[in-house]
Symmetry: C2
DNA sequence: CGAAGGCTTGACGGTATTCAAGCATAGTGG
DNA sequence: CCACTATGCTTGAATACCGTCAAGCCTTCG
């Protein structure tokens, strides 16, 4: 199998797993296991990778790209629960260890390493830091979800959208050394609405308000520039440094 | 599924941890570790156990009682993210492994076993099935949160309230052998509203509608009887058997 | 150049919040 | 035993927020 481009996770052949993960200070490990196999897969933007309710006990390590984890109602309305970015590890199964809790959609071109759960358990056992890494990613997921949950239940649309922009800013920073105030989101207004719990029309109006107040500017299908972090943090009712430590695994460590 | 017999987790003395956990088929283990210490603590109903944003790297094993995990906005509005029931294990810290993501409040009298994180890591290493148990509880949490997130973003109040009642029914069944259709919820309408994302007034109106349609009856401060599961599942837009397997760790195993 | 997809804006209506008042219940102390 | 209080439930009225529908516009791409 071929090495992945940024050399994040590399399966040299059927007998060696060369594991390097950029988060948590750069977890690095090399294993030799005749049984452990990871499939390296590429998906094009827009493709559906996994389906809510279908059987899937695999583990997905995101090497490259944006994935949306979503659930839908009968009437076709979709809620995006979370986005997975490079460095994230997904365990889509529910408590039965089999049925996928959500659907997974590629929002950019995506590279994944996929492990079968039995192989993943071996990896976890043999790379001591891997379980710490998974715990850290889980805690980050957990913290993000909680912040958004609070704002879904008790906040309004401006608050949710402002929070989402700040969350993207922090997470993209944690992925790579990009400036915090300028980044691209591979989403349409409709999909941003599905994420924050608002209609596309309302997203449009709210972003328009932000732009009229010179808090952000957004051009060219979601090239975001944040001009006024304090104003955005105030609308989102978030403490930005505190958010950073709670969702950035391995921040300054 | 073995019934819980009261003795769930027992720390005999400073040198022995006698670990019996009712979920996942009844995980049982006995350890001898001079270093591992669990504090057994009792809290009265209404007391605040942990504070959002405060330092806490401990692990809480719920032996008895209901705990609410919540977050609040500046204006005093509170969102309950989840409830922890007997058999649950809480890792309140975010990605920094230190700061608590939510506040924890006792809604009944509560018994906890509390481990320091270093001790917990030892336990995890020495009881192989414990990490599977934690993974199963995490997957259940994850599945519950996702269902509620979908309904927060794309559902209305009746849907969220109906879902909450069914989730309580399934979870309480998984705790002990109680009938699925009759149980008590130690919450006021205000707190149920903080859980589902609705005002107490609207909870009152919506429960009133359910009762007028003979779908449930609720007396005596939240003694719930579900008369019409199909109707409730239809309002909640949930497939009850599917919900059961995705949030009940060790269901039929 | 036309078609497709996405963004913007206005109008309207439904759902849920807030405020407020009255009622029910349980617990307390004389 | 009966006020008296505290707490929570119920109901109505007014209002805010946001979703839906619909039309027009803009950009991209074949």
């Amino acid at each position: 199998m071929s090495p992945s481009n940024g050399l994040v996770l590399k399966v040299a052949d059927r007998n060696a797993v060369n594991f390097y993960w950029p988060l948590m200070g750069g977890l690095k490990s090399e294993l030799f296991h005749s049984e452990i196999v990871s499939k390296l897969r590429h998906y094009y933007s827009g493709s559906e990778i996994d389906y809510e309710g279908h059987d899937n006990s695999g583990i997905f390590c995101v090497l490259e790209g944006w994935l949306a984890l979503s659930k839908s109602l009968e009437n076709g309305h979709t809620q995006i629960i979370d986005f997975a970015l490079p460095g994230d590890i997904l365990l889509p199964a529910g408590a039965d260890e089999l049925t996928s809790v959500y659907s997974i959609t590629a929002h950019t071109d995506v590279h994944l390493a996929i492990f079968r759960s039995a192989d993943w358990e071996k990896l976890i056992r043999d790379i001591p830091d891997l379980s710490k890494l998974v715990a850290g990613l889980g805690a980050s997921y957990h913290a993000r979800i909680s912040e958004r949950f609070l704002r879904m239940g008790k906040g309004n649309a401006p608050m949710r959208i402002a929070y989402a922009l700040l969350e993207f800013s922090v997470r993209l920073q944690s992925q790579k050394m990009i400036p915090a105030n300028s980044f691209h989101i591979p989403l349409r207004q409709k999909q941003l609405g599905d994420f924050v719990g608002a209609s596309s029309v309302h997203v449009c109006r709210t972003l328009g308000d932000f732009m009229r107040h010179s808090i952000v500017s957004i051009n060219n299908h979601m090239d975001v520039q944040i001009h006024d972090f304090p104003a955005l943090a105030n609308i989102a009712k978030i403490n930005l440094p505190q958010l950073t430590v709670s969702i950035w695994p391995g921040w300054r460590q």
